[in-house]
Symmetry: C2
Subunit: 231 residues, 2 copies
């Protein structure tokens, strides 16, 4: 492409924060880098945007190359552009996040050699990440916390049928605080968007708990009003 | 800076969507460009990010240069990165928005020659904007619409004391639809976050309407709950 712009020693990249919920823990998908800078460090799946692809296409491609995951709805949440954030040049990065249901069913394995491996890590035990990825992760979880109050994100992470204990563990993980069990259940059930099923947990050695489903229609009816145009 | 990155013919820019409310109309701040490409077109205030400044610093600088406005809280809302969005090269743009109170009191005048002038334009009568700025504007107003349901943004645009008619005009402008006057007033007053003042509009030739104030503390009490960690 002919260009009238000054040549910048600059580029842009994509970084992806993929959240999943498994065994009572909120997890995030990381890769172990195989290249300098930050060789052998854990990082968010991310890479450079090519000159001939939109940032949305780049996000899909990069996530696939580094984790083998595809067909995932990712949402852009923030762009990070501190001057010194990349040791090799001026790189601003557009960050996306996604919520996935039942992470055990998704195989995660890098397609390129750029990453040694990909793995789910509990958000409570994250190592120091490469670049400014710890800051990017922190921003994404703050975003998640805010959305918890007005969007049904918890139900995108849980299996279709879940127990109230699972729901509480997920809220606690996102909010990063313990909640009172009695109050939590009372409050959650009082909204009316949880549908009690005539089914119990299977395959547990302890006392099986009741299963619930999420009634999305009721949720929106409660939390939206006629002054709110969109969900 | 020594760099190991490939040289990209690329750059990043900032665009600002500044909303104001005046005389019953929702307005946005535009500049008339003085340079190619898009000479003489109307555009959002925007320009390139320098290599030695963060994107936040660039946003503040660029808004000041193009409109004379400063000390404004702007919030990043989306980054636009279609391949062909800039005719001169690959440029992705980070978009910010801000809400300003009482726009008549803010002088808007470009500091640089890059823009011929800056002016408030009603969102209902916008010309076709330069670059993909019409799309950026459309995205910003969708964002505003969504936030109207759970954040007190209307009250950041209105003067401290306002009439219910002003409030309704603002809601109508943001939602882009007519609302029933009776239902709107009933609903708004039922929340309890509007405080009726012992004062009426001044300087109007028609029947003066009652003035109201917004009770922010009550608003948050109503729309937040103990499962919502932040405002």
């Amino acid at each position: 492409m002919e260009t009238g712009l000054p040549k910048f020693d600059s580029a842009f990249s994509i970084d992806c924060v993929i959240f999943g919920f498994e065994a009572g823990e909120l997890k995030v998908l990381l890769i172990e880098r195989n290249e300098d800078p930050f060789k052998d460090w854990w990082a968010l799946p991310g890479n450079m945007v090519e000159n001939n692809e939109s940032i949305e296409d780049a996000a899909t491609r990069i996530l696939y190359e580094l984790t083998g995951l595809h067909d995932m709805h990712m949402e852009q949440f923030h762009t990070f552009g501190a001057v010194q954030r990349h040791p090799l040049g001026r790189v601003i990065t557009v960050a996306y996040y996604a919520l996935i249901r039942i992470i055990g069913q998704k195989e995660v394995k890098p397609v390129t050699k750029y990453a040694k491996k990909a793995a789910w890590r509990s958000v409570n035990e994250l190592p120091k990440l490469a670049y400014d990825h710890s800051e990017i992760f922190e921003t994404s979880i703050q975003k998640l916390r805010r959305r918890l109050g007005y969007q049904p994100i918890a139900f995108e992470l849980l299996p279709e049928k879940f127990t109230l204990t699972q729901l509480q563990l997920l809220y606690e993980a996102i909010l990063n605080k313990k909640l009172d069990k009695r109050n939590f259940r009372k409050k959650m059930l009082s909204y009316g968007f949880l549908k009690e099923l005539d089914e119990k947990q299977k395959g547990v050695s302890y006392r099986a708990a009741k299963l619930y489903k999420f009634d999305r229609r009721k949720y929106y009816k409660i939390f939206q009003n006629d002054l709110t145009p969109e969900n």
